[in-house]
Amino acid sequence: MRIKTIGSSVLGIIFEILFTVFIMAVFFIISSLITLARVWVFGI
């Protein structure tokens, strides 16, 4: 098993976590836009 440097792995872990946060953020923004649009379009 060859992992070039521990630094590369740490950066990889940070990248993966940020990637998951990015996915959550995208769907949170979509959810917010949808609920806002609902109010705007249907006036409820």
Binding site: M1, R2, I3, K4, S8, S9, L11, G12, I13, F15, E16, I17, F19, T20, V21, I23, M24, F27, F28, I30, S31, S32, I34, T35, L36, R38, I44
Partner: protein, 502 residues
């Protein structure tokens, strides 16, 4: 012409099985440590009894089935298929001894649900279960998510062999992360342990900030990590994630669920600097598209029903259920009855689709898997292009999965066969559910949840459900986790024992 199995075949299978059972015995000693730390004497005895039973049966098999013959593909498949059944049976012993299960069948159900990282539960009075037994429920998910065989390979085998790879691949892991299968197994454990430490720290800290005592925050944190990263879905509490009333905790679990749904090969590429792979990879792209499609389906229905008018409840309830379903985790911040009484049929269909599709190959998730869905769609695009282009054109479709791969008929065939098998499994379970009087959509929901190793429940999985249905769901969890082939080989072996040529 299928040959009748010989005594030597049984010895090869028994010998490897013996080693795996001994490995399980060692794993069962970990809850003993928890029991000693938390002064829970009776559970300590439960696990010592179970562990010794594992060692006794394992050593008996090693003594009776001593052989030097190399394992071939048939043996590998049968070993894995039996190992999972045996592990579920032996893992049920300490659970049954706890007194929190109505029958040994219920304990076997719980054990199979744990090892297959499903998360459907039949435990009685979970809130009064000992920390030791609770730890075992979650540890079984951690072990099962990585693979029972992977543990044995990484801990008990010093050097790899063709036989070792055959057993590894038979556990529905046909991708090698590293050239040597032992190194692959150890890398999978490295990723899991690193995230175990990080995840437990973060979850424990969040739990403590949300009001849990320090001891309970880190214990629950470790348990939730093991179930979230391994996309299992057990929690130490009967209310599942609702117990904690914490948006922050749920957010952390979403991160872990997504991490658990990523191919271990992709983890390796990311950790070694090839980060662009995340965006080029066919699995990640397919997952992104299916997530958006199923989210759209749920959104339409939830908007129509006006269930969650504000953005945070909409995200917390709508998206959380979806990501839990799609990654095959099964964590829920809704009561089962709310699915039935409040959510509409369309949103339930969206959840069922997400559960059925699943996560990545060579990850901790179940279901059809994104690579197969991606390959089938690529094949469809290729067929449409071929028709639209001049007849003499030779079209070569490629897809990117860690490297560029030319799409060939064998890839499509393999994907379609597995998809059909999963659909058959989901439908068969749904038909069985309807046979016992449950409505169609609820039966399909529960069947898909079991077969795709998700664990979300619409209310069918209870202590009072028919025993036959419990057996059916156990078999579905087993088949779904092992992706069929090893089970068919086991059945073929049994048939050959009676009808094979001498």
């Amino acid at each position: 012409m299928i040959l009748r199995p010989q005594i030597n075949d049984l010895k090869i299978i028994g010998f490897s099985l013996g080693k795996l059972i001994c490995a399980l015995g060692f794993v069962m000693l970990l809850p003993v440590v928890i029991g000693v730390v938390f002064s829970e004497a009776s559970p300590v005895f439960d696990f010592l009894i179970a562990s010794e039973l594992c060692f006794i049966s394992g050593i008996l098999l090693l003594l009776l089935c001593r052989t030097q013959t190399e394992i071939d593909w048939m043996h590998g498949m049968i070993i894995v298929a039996l190992a999972w059944l045996v592990a579920a049976f032996l893992g049920a012993i300490p659970l049954y001894l706890s007194g929190h299960f109505v029958s040994f069948l219920d304990a076997c159900f719980e054990s199979m649900s744990g090892f297959s990282t499903t998360g459907l539960t039949l435990v009685k009075d979970l809130d009064h279960l000992s920390l030791t037994h609770n730890f075992w429920r979650h540890l079984s998910m951690f072990v099962g998510g990585q693979g029972i065989v992977v543990i044995a390979l990484s801990v008990f085998m010093i050097k790899g062999s063709a036989g070792a790879f055959r057993i590894y691949a038979s556990e529905a892991r046909d991708e090698r992360v590293l050239p040597n299968v032992i190194s692959t197994a150890r890398f999978i454990w490295l990723v899991s342990i690193v995230y175990l430490v990080l995840g437990t720290l973060v979850l424990g800290t969040v739990g403590f900030l949300e009001g849990l005592s320090l001891k309970r925050a880190f214990f629950d944190g470790a348990c939730i990590f093991m179930a979230a990263f391994d996309t299992g879905g057990f929690t130490p509490r009967s209310q599942n994630m609702l117990y904690y009333h914490s948006f922050l905790l749920e957010t952390v679990t979403v991160s872990l669920m997504i991490l658990g749904a990523i191919n271990f090969n992709l983890h390796y590429h990311i950790w070694t600097g090839n980060r662009k792979e995340v965006f080029k990879n066919i699995e990640m792209r397919t997952l992104g598209i299916t997530l958006l499609i199923t989210f759209a389906i749920i959104v339409v229905d939830l908007l129509r029903l006006n269930l969650y008018p504000q953005s945070i409840p909409f995200f917390r309830k709508g998206f959380y259920q979806l990501i839990s379903a799609h990654t095959g985790t099964g964590y829920s911040n809704l009561y089962s009855m709310q699915f039935v009484r409040e959510w509409g049929n369309l949103s339930l269909v969206g959840i069922i689709m997400a559960m059925g599709l699943g996560g990545s190959i060579c990850s901790t998730t179940g279901g059809i898997k994104a690579l197969r869905v991606g390959v089938i769609f690529k094949s469809l695009i290729q067929d449409v292009k071929q028709i639209m282009l001049p007849e003499s054109t030779v079209l070569q479709q490629k897809f990117h999965h860690l490297k560029m791969i030319v799409l060939e008929d064998k890839h499509v065939r393999a994907a379609v066969v597995t998809v059909l098998l999963y659909f058959t499994l989901y439908s068969a379970g749904a038909i069985c559910g309807m046979f016992f009087g449950y409505p169609f959509l609820e039966s399909l929901f529960e069947s898909t949840s079991a077969a795709a190793n998700v664990g979300l429940s619409i209310g069918i999985t209870t202590v009072t459900m028919p025993s036959a249905l419990k057996v059916i769901y156990i078999l579905q969890m087993w088949a779904g986790r092992l992706e069929f082939i090893s089970i068919f080989v086991l059945l073929g072996f049994i048939v050959a024992a009676f009808k094979g040529k001498k």
